[in-house]
């Protein structure tokens, strides 16, 4: 009896799966066109899955091993089950192989079930609680049904009662695992995920690559939408990416805005995009809501606006403006979903079409247009911080080794101390450097992240034109935001430069023995990784190497390097200032205090401002450049390395 029922069940489920896959595929294709390498992507997919994706999953050993067993066992079991039970290839060898595969899957599923006994809050409940049972049912049913094939029991073992039970079990299993995969069940993540890896919007991310620069809007094409108003304004492979979400909540656990009680949860946002893609309400979402926003009040559809400024639609504007673009969610996402891209896409529509940048947003953007700096300071004052430093100007020198990109920190009195410290280091190392002076403009970072692509491109193009007049080997900057934009985002507009963060450059100077340094005497130090240096550009080592070179043993925070928590200063978040229960910099300062360090070393003007804004007793905030400048030894007569002269460290203020 089973030999007739099983093929019917299997092929019916497969047929339904194929129909579902077609439907889902057409849903994704409602999005705007995107260029993908159709075949190459598919061919590269297994490697991306087993290497790149597994690399992220493997940060949690428990679930990585569980997933290998369950998913590996399932794929093997599915193929073999189709051969053995579908096509009736009753060979003992295949039978034993299928037994092994289902056994492996069963063991994996047991561990899935164990995690679900008391699931952490980041995990979605609802249908996801059913999944381990379905997995166990699939594995167990096929295991028992395959025993006769392997010749372990006789063909009529168990009689019709067992046959009926197995039929029910198999039906349940294939429902969840075959056609549930393409009809929107929890297993959808495997199907959409695999294709998402194949046709990812940032294929450069795989095989050890990095792709973090935002993609430019085509402003010359009058018909191209300015950002994303409705789900179909996303490119189709972005929509596919949302569908790949496995709702593991790693993003939720890492998101600083969520932790601060601001109305953002990256996981919910992606699920809302899935709701928008298919149409409906968010009532079925079984995870944590946006803080302060109950589930079930929002709904949307593929052709409906995502944000309604005068009421409720799919997502509220303040959810989008809570993001600091720290990329912690993207870094943690095992499915390689691009949350930040989606958020900025939607912000672009709000800013460029609706003129609805909240709070100080409009003022900052107006300032950038009128004065080239977000604070609205007189452009003529850009070099006032260096009035007494006799800095060489690019317009005088034309050609230098290092172009020192000052950034808008030039207008901020706190950051001027950092800039002056770094100039002192450059001078001590006798670097051939110059600044653009009044020719420099804001890099466009804040404008772009506030969604004002037009102002970003305006600033970028002017900067590129200015930089094009001069010869230099590298650009060095103390600002990771300028660093990222110059390095990764100007390229699309025609500006290709070698750009270094000042910590990287100082590390080169130190290893090239260009600096004579003493040792740090100011107490224990911890280091806060800036998002735009670390996660965006992968520079975790150089700052630590510099600190080590001046005798500092960094007291690492629990969340450091790629897991570093944002200071709250990125993505225009201090400008849009969406209220939460606590402030992000306060949380970061609590992380810092846990290390009991007396000084926190930073490498970013934003981080400096945010962390110094924390009230009360707290460690001192010092830029790496300041720490290095503090221990510079006067080298009138060059000193030999490793023989520090007894000269007191210079004070820099």
């Amino acid at each position: 009896m089973l030999t007739t029922i099983l093929p019917i069940l299997l092929f019916a489920a497969l047929a339904l799966a194929v129909i579902g896959a077609g439907k889902r595929f057409l849903m994704w294709r409602r999005g705007r066109p995107a260029q993908v390498d159709w075949l190459g992507g598919l061919l590269a997919m297994p490697r991306r899955y087993m290497v790149d994706l597994h690399h992220v999953v493997a940060r949690d050993k428990y679930i990585a091993n569980t997933h290998v067993a369950t998913a590996g066992g399932f794929v093997l079991a599915a193929v073999l089950a189709i051969l053995v039970h579908g096509f009736g290839l009753h060979s003992r060898l295949l039978g034993f192989a299928l037994l092994a595969a289902t056994a492996l899957m069963f063991v994996g599923a047991l561990f899935v079930a164990k995690r679900r006994l008391d699931p952490p809050s980041r995990l979605s409940k609802g249908p996801w609680m059913r999944l381990p049972k379905s997995l166990l049912m699939f594995a167990a049913s096929f295991f028992i049904a395959t025993l006769p094939v392997a010749g372990i029991v006789s063909a009529d073992f168990g009689g019709w009662v067992l046959a009926l039970l197995l039929s029910v079990g198999v039906a349940w299993g294939v429902s969840e695992l075959f056609f549930g995969m393409t009809w929107g069940g929890p297993m959808k993540h495997a199907f959409a995920g695999a294709l998402h890896l194949a046709w990812h919007r940032r294929a450069e991310r795989f095989a050890g690559g990095r792709s973090t620069g935002l993609k430019a809007l085509d402003l010359d094409n009058r018909n191209a939408p300015l950002g994303v108003e409705k789900p179909t304004d996303f490119t189709w492979n972005q929509l596919l990416g949302f569908d790949a979400c496995v709702q593991c909540g790693k993003c939720e656990a890492a998101c600083p805005a969520y932790a601060a009680g601001q109305p953002l949860n990256p996981k919910k946002l992606i699920q809302d995009m899935v709701v928008g893609l298919a149409g409906g309400t968010d009532a079925k979402f079984a995870g944590s809501p946006y803080p302060g926003k109950p589930i079930g009040e929002h709904s949307g559809g593929p052709h409906l606006p995502i944000v309604n400024l005068n009421g409720k639609a799919l997502v509220d504007a303040e959810t989008l403006w809570s993001c600091t673009t720290c990329r912690a969610c993207v870094e943690e996402c095992p499915m390689m979903i691009e949350h930040v891209d989606a958020i900025v896409d939607m912000r672009r529509h709000l800013t460029l079409e609706k003129g609805a940048t909240p709070n100080k947003g409009a003022e900052v953007l107006d300032n950038l247009i009128a004065t080239d700096n977000p604070g609205g300071f007189a452009p003529g004052g850009r070099l006032n911080w260096a009035a007494d430093l006799n800095l060489a100007l690019m317009s005088d020198k034309q050609s230098v080794e290092v172009l020192f990109w000052v950034g808008d920190g030039a207008f901020d009195m706190r950051n001027q101390r950092t800039l002056r410290a770094f100039v002192k280091v450059l001078k001590a190392a006798q670097v051939d450097f110059a600044v653009l002076g009044l020719e420099e403009r804001d890099s466009g970072d804040v404008a772009r992240r506030l969604g004002d692509e037009a102002t970003f491109q305006l600033l970028a193009k002017r900067n590129i034109a200015t930089l094009g007049q001069y010869q230099f080997r590298t650009i060095v900057t103390c600002d990771p935001h300028s660093f990222h934009v110059l390095k990764n985002e100007y390229g699309e507009l025609g500006g290709h430069y070698q750009v270094l963060h000042h910590s990287t450059y100082m590390e080169q100077l130190i290893s090239g023995q260009k600096l004579t340094l003493g040792t740090h005497k100011g107490g224990s130090v911890t280091y806060h990784d800036p998002c735009y240096l670390g996660r965006y550009n992968g520079e975790y080592e150089a700052p630590r190497a510099v600190l080590k070179a001046i005798g500092i043993e960094v007291r690492e925070m629990e969340r450091s390097a790629f897991r570093s928590r944002c200071c709250g200063g990125g993505g225009g978040a201090p400008i849009t200032d969406i209220p939460g229960k606590q402030r992000i910099p306060d949380m970061r300062m609590a992380d810092i205090k846990e290390t009991a360090a007396e000084v926190v070393a930073v490498g970013c003007p934003q981080c400096t401002a945010m962390l110094e804004g924390v009230v009360g007793q707290r460690p001192e905030v010092k830029d790496i450049a300041e720490l290095v400048a503090d221990v510079l030894l006067e080298s009138a007569a060059p000193l030999k390395q490793g023989n520090p002269a007894p000269v007191a460290a210079m004070e820099v203020h």
């Binding site: 800013t351 460029l352 003129g355 409009a362 247009i369 009128a370």
Partner: protein, 257 residues
């Protein structure tokens, strides 16, 4: 209120620190007020160069088009505006108090109202309601005070910083909106022929001597109405007697000679 025909007059502004052309701060507030009252039906009018891209910043506030009476720089905007408005069905003309570029004398609203023969409300803060051809408006006075006025339509009103802040200008509508030029008779400004422009010097400021000894006194000084002292309150007098009293005062003050 939506039936009201409103025209907002706008000029090209200049950022106070960088000098770059932009939408003029007060004119943008006039547009904001107009958009609030008339929505899409608001007409926005500029006399000058239709190629000036800075005008698009007004379009970015959500206007479909901006009408430009085309004239070269240093022409007299007053006659062309007055002609245009006299022929239009405008019931309320909104302007800023003073332009940020050009002559910037702040005289335009006054001269325009005089030429049209319409009343002028300076420092308009809000239009509360319009009925039977009479508008009830709030006029801003110093120190946050407001005066409620009844004005017969049509009238001219100038706004200053007491009017609501202008909304953000968005790139999309700014790019899509139309700058439609209309040819008008050119009128040379005789002032520009004889005089020349020079940068303004800040006026010397009277030193503020704080006489208050206590917090309460300081509070009183900060919130007290500006009082000129002297003067007289006329009540229940005939219009002739009232006019005579005003005429006498103007003579005394040297306003009339």
């Amino acid at each position: 209120m939506t039936e009201l025909n409103i025209v907002a007059l706008v000029s090209v502004g200049a950022h106070p620190l960088s000098g770059r052309p932009r939408r003029a701060e007060q004119d943008a507030r006039a547009v904001e007020l107009g958009l609030h009252l008339a929505g899409e039906r608001l007409q926005v009018l500029h006399a000058g160069d239709p190629q000036q891209e800075a005008l698009r910043a007004y379009l970015g506030m959500g206007l479909n088009q901006l009408k430009i009476l085309e004239q070269p720089a240093h022409s007299d905007a007053l006659p062309v505006l007055a002609d245009y408005l006299a022929d239009s069905s405008a019931q309320l003309v909104l302007t800023g108090s003073q332009a940020e570029t050009g002559e910037g004398s702040g005289m335009l609203p006054f001269l325009l109202a005089e030429q049209l023969g319409w009343p002028l409300v300076v420092g308009l803060a809000a239009v509360e309601q319009v009925s039977d051809g009479v508008a009830q408006v709030l006029q801003a006075l110093p120190r946050g005070q407001r005066r409620r006025l009844q004005v017969r339509l049509p009238f001219v009103a100038s706004v200053d910083n007491a009017a609501p802040t202008a909304r953000q200008s968005a790139f999309g509508p700014a790019r899509r909106g139309l700058l439609t030029a209309e040819e008008v008779e050119l009128v040379a400004d005789p002032l520009f022929a004889s005089a020349q422009l020079q940068p303004a010097k800040p006026r010397p400021k009277r030193l503020k001597v704080i006489k208050a000894k206590t917090g309460a006194e300081r509070m009183k000084a900060a919130t007290a109405k500006a009082s000129g002292g002297g003067g007289q309150v006329l009540k229940d007098v005939s219009p002739e007697a009232g006019a005579e009293a005003i005429f006498k005062l103007l003579l005394e003050e040297g306003v009339l000679r």
